[in-house]
Amino acid sequence: MTDIKISIIDRNGTLHEVDAPTDMNMNLMEIVRSYELAPEGTIGVCGGMAMCASCQCYVLSDHELPEMSYDEDAMLAEAFHVKENSRLGCQIHMKPEMNGLKVELAPES
C-alpha cells in the first residue's frame, strides 16, 4: 500500500479527496498540481524551493508534520494571508503516517 488519502479544499472552497502516492517523493504542492486543483502558474511557481509561498496551505487536521525548516519559516514570514496553521505545500512530502491529512489552499497572492 503506497497510496494515502488526503483531503484538499481548493481556492474556491471545493473539497477534493485524492489518492497520494508515498513512494514517489511527491510533496503536497505536486499532489495539488497533479490533480490540477489550482491553475498552473498560480502554484509551485518557484518549483518547490520554499521561495515563493504560492503553495501556502492551512493544515486543518491534527497530523504531526515534519518540522518547519529555516527556509520555510522565513518564506512564511514574508508571505500574505498567513495563519497559525500555515505551511508551504512544497515542504510537506507524502508519508504513510499522513493518511487522512486535510488541508486548505491559501488564496492566490
Binding site: E40, M49, C52, A77, E78, H81, V82, S109
Partner: protein, 350 residues
C-alpha cells in the same frame, strides 16, 4: 529604434541559448527583460542552487549556468534592453513587428520569440484593502528615486534584504524611518540586520515587530498607516508607505497580445516549430504550453533550437539551408572570431 532579426522577450536560459542557435544561422538577436540582469529565474530566484538535469553537467549552480550561457553567446554580440518590460506588440505592413517597452524603447524585428518563463517579475503587493487607491500618491512597491523621500516620513514593511537595505539607506534621506515586520527575526544579510539594530539603538530607525500594516490612511494621499501588533491596533503618521515583499512573476501585458492562452501559458504548435497563433511570434521555454509540455531548461534549449530553424526559413523563404554541426563547421562570431576543431596534422614518416 532597435532593429534585429529575432527579438527575444526574456533573458533566461532559454532566451540566451536561442541567441547561440540563431547565431549559427547568422541571425542577430536582441533581448528584452524586466529584470536588471540576464538569467531570469536562475539569476533572480536561485543563483546559488544546484541543477542536476542539464545534460552533461552532473551538477551546476543556476548562476554558473547563466554565466556559461553568456560566455557561449558572446561571439554573437546580442543586444539587451534590461530593466524594461515588453508592453505592446504591433504588426507593420511589411510583416515585421514593433515591440515597445514600458519605458518607451522600441524594437523592430521580423521574428519575435517570447521566452518569458513565468512572466515578468513584479513586486508582490500585500493584501491591504485600500492600498491600490494610493499607488500614485504615496505607496511605492519599488524604490526608483530615493530623493522623493527627502525630509519625508517613511514607513517600510518587509523582512528581507530589500526592506533592511532601504531602511538603512533612507535614514540619511528621510526625516523618519519606521520598519515594520511580522516577525522579530529578519532573514536578510547579517551585516544589514546588525546595522538596523545599531540604527534602532541610536533612535534613527523605529522598529515595530511583530506587526503588520492593515490599512493605509489618508484622503487624496498617504497620511499614515494602521498597524496591528498582537491585539493592539495603532496608527503612525507618514508621507510614504513602502511595502517591500520581493518579486513574483506575472504573465503581464503579454496576456493582451492576442495570443492563445491556456493554463497561464501561450499555446504553440509543438509538432512543428513552437509558433503561436500569430505567425512570426514564437513562444519557447516555460512560457509555452502544448500536449506533454515539461517546464525544464533542457526542453527550452530544444525548443529554442527548432524555433531558430523555423525563423530562418521565415526570414529567407527562398534560401536552402541544412543544419550544420558545430564540430564540423565551428562557430563564427559576428565579431570576426572563429572557433573550430583543430585540423588533423599530416606528417609522413621517413
Amino acid at each position: 529604434m532597435i532593429k534585429t532579426d529575432i527579438l527575444i522577450i526574456g533573458a533566461g536560459p532559454t532566451g540566451l541559448f536561442a541567441v547561440f542557435e540563431a547565431g549559427l544561422l547568422k541571425l542577430r538577436c536582441h533581448l528584452i527583460d524586466a529584470l536588471p540582469q540576464p538569467g531570469g529565474q536562475c539569476a533572480e530566484i536561485y543563483p546559488k542552487k544546484p541543477i542536476y538535469d542539464i545534460p552533461a553537467f552532473p551538477e551546476i549552480l543556476a548562476g554558473d549556468l547563466v554565466d556559461n550561457l553568456m560566455k557561449q553567446i558572446e561571439p554573437f554580440k546580442p543586444g539587451f534592453t534590461l530593466g524594461e518590460r515588453a508592453e505592446t506588440v504591433e504588426r507593420l505592413d511589411d510583416g515585421t513587428f514593433i515591440v515597445t517597452t514600458n519605458k518607451g524603447t522600441k524594437h523592430n524585428a521580423p521574428i519575435v520569440a517570447i521566452a518569458g518563463g513565468l512572466g515578468s517579475f513584479e513586486p508582490r503587493k500585500p493584501p491591504i484593502n485600500n492600498i491600490s487607491d494610493f499607488e500614485d500618491t504615496g505607496v511605492e512597491y519599488i524604490i526608483r528615486d530615493p530623493e522623493i523621500y527627502r525630509n519625508k516620513k517613511v514607513v517600510i514593511a518587509g523582512g528581507g534584504d530589500s526592506a533592511l537595505d532601504w531602511s538603512i539607506f533612507l535614514t540619511d534621506v528621510a526625516s523618519s524611518v519606521t520598519l515594520i515586520h511580522r516577525r522579530n527575526e529578519f532573514r536578510g544579510a547579517l551585516d544589514s540586520v546588525e546595522k538596523v539594530q545599531e540604527l534602532k539603538n541610536l533612535g534613527r530607525i523605529e522598529l515595530i515587530t511583530p506587526a503588520e500594516v492593515i490599512n493605509v490612511l489618508g484622503d487624496s494621499k498617504v497620511e499614515g498607516v494602521s498597524i496591528k501588533r498582537g491585539d493592539e491596533v495603532f496608527n503612525r503618521e507618514c508621507d510614504h508607505f513602502i511595502p517591500l515583499f520581493g518579486l513574483a512573476p506575472k504573465l503581464g501585458p503579454i496576456a493582451d497580445w492576442g495570443l492563445e492562452i491556456e493554463k497561464n501559458a501561450i499555446k504553440v504548435d509543438n509538432s512543428l516549430d513552437y509558433q503561436t497563433n500569430i505567425p512570426g511570434i514564437y513562444a519557447i521555454g516555460d512560457i509555452n504550453t502544448y500536449p506533454g509540455k515539461l517546464k525544464l531548461i533542457l526542453c527550452g534549449f530544444h525548443e529554442a533550437t527548432l524555433m531558430c530553424q523555423s525563423a530562418y526559413q521565415r526570414i529567407y523563404p527562398d534560401k536552402r539551408y541544412v543544419m550544420k554541426y558545430t564540430t564540423v563547421s565551428g562557430v563564427e562570431g559576428f565579431d570576426g572570431s572563429k572557433k573550430e576543431a583543430p585540423k588533423a596534422v599530416i606528417k609522413s614518416i621517413d
